[in-house]
């Protein structure tokens, strides 16, 4: 969907996306980093499970919700990436019950 313009970008930093190494640039918002890295699906909706991606990139639509360093439902467009940040994409509605250890 997107690529970076040819203007020299900021320093490359490594983050984790769903546990795998992913390259971002210092100063990126999490949403820009994912979009520039070719991610088209940010989450699956909580009702039907349909794929979703950012619509507004200004904190309004809440389509870019991801789990950041263990905290769910963070707005990826409002958070700046940091080296080592752990991003997880959310799928469907979370369970209200504690995860079973089975």
């Amino acid at each position: 969907m997107f690529r970076r313009d040819p203007i020299p970008p900021g320093e490359a930093i490594e983050i984790l996306l769903d546990g795998a190494p992913f390259t971002a640039r210092r100063g990126d918002t999490v949403a820009n980093a994912l979009l520039a890295g070719g991610i088209t699906r940010f989450r699956d909706s909580v009702v039907s499970g349909a794929p979703r991606a950012p619509y507004c990139l200004m904190g309004t639509c809440f389509e870019c919700l991801v789990t950041i360093d263990g905290t769910p439902n963070r707005q990826a467009c409002l958070v700046t990436v940091e080296a080592g940040m752990r991003i997880e994409r959310q799928s469907g509605a979370p369970s209200m019950l504690p995860e079973s250890k089975a």
Partner: protein, 487 residues
């Protein structure tokens, strides 16, 4: 490391866009203590997003008006206002002593700040354009794509189509062209007010926006196929956008697209003002609700002012004097005398920047049919409530948007109605024959940004809260634990 937020300030300004920065500079010139809170990481607002850090080459690509924002950002940085970035404001609450309490979230903790005056400069949001397929990845607002370009240097890859109505479609197409990207098409849906727009043409011809706008449109039309007069739009695709379909002269046509950028103008951000208790009025040309303010930005709530697009869409040029005027009104409330010459200058600048607005508003007004979807099209993206379900509930006799929320959960997801409130009112109006003004809009309530219970629990316990939980017992001397994942 983010700076600490003070517990009180004379004047708190919310939003670091043109209106907020101009208001801060004006209030600092009078020697008032100013605290400015903003959600993003740097001053500039969406119009001048990242202008303080953007490389020169990107500023050139984005144009002179974007680059010009850097001067105001520098002036603001030097004005002596305390600027705290990365703060989410979830409420402005008038208290019984005529002061205003501002609820914020900062570093994973809720806090309250007390202020004698508050200026809301929270600007606009892009109007959602609920066409079939608009929830697919690969569909976003044209404004969103522009923010991606300003803040991250992101450019469309593959075939890109712009669709809808508004000057931003041309501005963005022009910026793409300068970056070497040729959009596959610009599909325009006509404004229903073009004839009345022409009666306002003389003002527009005298406005600086006229020459700029005419040149811009001509440049875009030379390079990009512009399809005018589309009556309906839809996006086709399974798991992502594949094509934009448009109806013209009764027939559907299709353009392949990897990225569909929709736009139908911008509307005031209403959540904070409405939740604070400011009444709204319906603007029938721009088809949106606006908070009720006087011409300086004063609201029905003592000490609360609104500046810039948040008070009514006027663009960045008008937001600057609007910010100055709101600051002057707030300063007067704080007991300052305002120099009449300064007041006059701000008023004159406001009217100068307003030249041409009446024409632009009407020439680029959104067609109502596009704003009231039908059938399976999702009106509420969060809770996935279809336009058809809303129509059915409206026919069953729901008296207003708030009853629909109770019936269907529309507006109850994380966006808190930001993406569906307008569509719900539009659909109900069409279905019942009542006007949007009569129907009103969803009620927006504090907290207007999501706040976890853990964050809320970080608020210092007030006397009432203490008594509710402990009765007459003493508060135990153990501090509340921080949320486990607080960063």
């Amino acid at each position: 490391m983010s700076p600490q937020i003070p517990e009180a300030a004379e004047l708190v300004i919310i939003g670091a866009g043109p209106a907020g920065m101009a208001a801060a500079i004006e209030a600092r010139a009078a020697g008032t203590e100013v605290l400015l809170l903003d959600e993003t990481s740097a001053a500039g607002g969406q119009i001048w997003r990242a202008v303080g850090t953007a490389p020169e080459a990107r500023k050139t690509l984005l144009g002179k008006e974007y680059a010009a924002g850097a001067a105001l950002v520098s002036e603001f940085a030097a004005c002596g206002a305390q600027h705290v970035s990365g703060v989410s404001v979830w409420g402005v609450m008038p208290d019984e002593n005529g002061r205003l309490r501002i609820g914020v979230r900062h570093n994973c903790a809720a806090r309250l700040i007390e202020a004698r005056a508050v200026i809301l400069a929270t600007g606009a949001q892009e109007r959602p354009l609920p066409v079939p397929g608009w929830t697919l990845p690969g569909v976003m607002g044209a404004g969103a794509a522009q923010i991606a370009l300003k803040s991250g240097g992101l450019l469309p890859e593959g075939r890109c189509v712009l669709a809808g109505v508004g000057p931003l479609l041309y501005l963005l197409a022009d910026q793409f062209l300068r970056a070497g990207i040729i959009p596959a098409a610009l599909v325009e849906t006509p404004s229903p007010h073009r004839r009345t727009a022409l009666t306002h043409l003389p003002g527009f011809l005298r406005a600086p926006t006229f020459r700029k706008g005419a040149g811009l449109m001509a440049r875009v039309r030379r390079k990009v196929p512009v399809i005018a007069g589309a009556e309906a739009l839809e996006v086709r695709g399974d798991s992502k956008a594949k094509a934009l379909r448009y109806k013209r002269g009764g027939a559907w046509q299709e353009i392949e697209a990897d990225l569909v950028l929709l736009h139908a103008g911008v509307v005031p951000s209403l959540h904070l003002s409405v939740a604070a208790g400011v009444p709204t009025r319906w603007n029938d040309v721009l088809r949106c609700f606006e908070p009720e303010t006087d011409e300086l930005g004063a609201t029905a709530i003592a000490g609360l002012y609104i500046a810039g697009d948040g008070a009514g869409i006027g663009g960045a040029e008008r937001a600057l004097p609007s910010g100055r005027r709101a600051a002057q009104a707030a300063l007067e409330h704080l007991g300052h005398n305002i120099d009449p010459a300064r007041r006059d200058a701000a008023r004159k600048d406001w009217h100068k920047a307003d030249l041409g607005r009446a024409f632009i508003d009407r020439w680029f007004a959104p067609p109502p049919a596009l704003l009231a979807p039908r059938g399976d099209t999702l009106a509420c993206r969060c809770e996935e409530v279809t336009a058809g379900a809303i129509r059915e509930a409206a026919r069953l006799g729901a008296p207003g948007p708030n009853q629909l929320k109770t019936y269907l959960r529309c507006g109850m997801g994380p966006c808190q109605g930001r993406m569906c409130a307008a569509s719900i009112t539009e659909i109900m109006a069409e279905e019942t024959g009542r006007t949007p003004a009569e129907l009103g809009h969803l009620r927006f309530r504090t907290p207007v940004r999501p706040l976890s219970l853990g964050e809320l629990a970080q608020l210092p316990a007030g006397e009432n809260a203490r008594r509710a939980v402990l009765g007459d017992a003493e508060l135990p001397d153990t501090p509340l634990p921080l949320p486990p994942r607080a960063r």
